[in-house]
């Protein structure tokens, strides 16, 4: 059996647009095809690039990879790992789409188990892998917690992974707009108890969208103009009545 990990670049359209068009189709298709071939692994998209892990019988993986290389939806297919394995790591989940391999224990174990091969990679291959896997990318809260830190979201979460509830929506709206101190979020009382808020923030951390700033600089919330604020309050009242 073998394992191939490759990184490739999404082909930009004529107007310079880089979108992984057909990713949803690809996921469905590869799920079916890979079950037939018993090839399992991970597919991930980030910053205009794909990363895919393919594991299975050597001839099946090589055959599939030769087809993948010819697909016109991507280019510059670069192998970052090509090794023999005794058993597949992702047998129970087929071909799964992962938004953050950086936080995926099985992927992380696969990389650390092949540390020597990864360290021997050239600069280009290292840089490509770093788009997806960079243990130093974010400050982890695991040791310190969120107390006294300022928090911001780089993007809205994938709502298949976190509940689309009014509390989560309001929290995301705040944190995508500007950094807020963790203490002010707790004190506002809008986001449940401390442990409930921590659970949501931990999910955001796993998705790699939460930025934690521990510099302890107090942040003031910016203000909106009065007309906007009045409209906001009236809409809020209307929505309360509508529930």
């Amino acid at each position: 059996m073998k394992c191939i990990i490759y990184v490739s670049k999404v082909v930009a359209s004529g107007d310079g647009l880089v979108v992984p068009t057909g990713l949803s189709q690809l996921v469905r298709k590869s799920r079916r095809a890979n079950i037939e071939r018993s090839v399992t692994g991970i597919l991930s998209y980030r910053q205009g690039h794909y990363l895919q892990v393919l594991q299975g019988e050597s001839n099946e993986v090589d055959h599939l990879f030769s087809i993948i290389k010819e697909d016109r939806r991507h280019e510059q297919v670069t192998v970052v790992l090509d090794v023999s394995i005794s058993r597949p790591d992702f047998l129970d989940w087929g071909m799964r789409l992962s938004e953050s391999v950086n936080r995926d224990t099985r992927f992380v174990n696969l990389i650390s188990g092949n540390a020597a091969s990864i360290e021997a990679l050239g600069k280009i291959e290292q840089r490509l892998l770093k788009i997806f896997y960079n243990p130093e990318r974010f400050n982890s809260s695991q040791l310190k917690g969120y107390q006294d830190s300022n928090l911001m979201l780089l993007a809205w979460p994938d709502f298949t992974l976190v509940k689309q509830s009014p509390t989560v929506i309001e929290l995301c709206a705040k944190l995508t707009k500007a950094p807020h101190s963790y203490n002010s979020l707790i004190n506002s009382g809008h986001f449940g108890t401390q442990s409930q808020l921590d659970r949501i923030l931990e999910l955001f951390e796993k998705m790699e969208i939460l930025v934690i700033d521990n510099s302890a600089v107090q942040i003031d919330s910016p203000k909106v103009n009065r007309v906007e604020s009045v409209f906001f309050s009236k809409m809020k009242k209307f929505l309360k009545r509508a529930v």
Binding site: S24, F159, I169, F231, F232, M235, K237
Partner: protein, 179 residues
């Protein structure tokens, strides 16, 4: 009188007309016509759908459903001023026209004009989480292209609660400075 607009833009069958019907306090003004080609439904919007929500005696939100295809961009002109929010509807199960979506976001410039923007995925009740995650990645890529930080939400336009929750999201984005 403070009057703001919510532009609801999406391709044929995305659920614009239904969504406005679920949210509006007045009988929506619909400009639908019988489709001459097979688009999966008998009637389709050929112009603007209009609905309204009164917030008080002197404040109201107008709901404007506008086709997403570029050939209707003259209708985009009619709704681009005084925008309270931009809601882009994407129908799950059909590959979205990203070139069109790109043109639409270029036209409305929600990131430069600080207009709250939300993407609503419809017809996704039976979709698997993996399929929705993939669609989310595709849509987020085009939002990133426009340096736009906006949520991709799952919505049922037939359901009043689900439709109204979109107003809650847009209001939260607009009001997130004031709390």
């Amino acid at each position: 009188m403070v009057y703001r607009k919510l532009a609801i833009i999406g391709e044929v069958g995305a659920g614009k007309t239904r969504l406005i019907s679920s949210m509006s306090e007045i009988q929506p003004f619909e400009t639908e016509a019988e489709s001459s080609i097979d688009i999966g439904k008998k009637y389709t919007t050929v112009g603007i759908d209009y609905g309204r929500i009164s917030l008080s005696e002197d404040s109201a939100l107008g709901l404007y459903g506008v086709p997403g295809q570029e050939r209707y961009s003259f209708l985009w002109e009619l709704v681009k001023e005084s925008l309270w929010g931009l809601l882009v509807l994407v129908k799950y199960g059909e590959e979205p026209n990203y070139q069109n979506l790109n043109k639409l976001l270029t036209f409305f410039e929600p990131q430069n004009k600080e207009v709250a923007c939300v993407v609503g995925v419809t017809h996704c009740e039976n979709a698997s989480d993996q399929d929705l995650t993939a669609l989310n990645s595709e849509i987020q890529a085009i939002l990133e292209h426009h340096k736009l930080v906006a949520p991709v939400l799952y919505v049922d336009p037939r359901n009043k609660e689900s439709a109204t929750s979109l107003l809650h999201v847009i209001n939260s984005i607009n009001g997130s400075f004031s709390a």
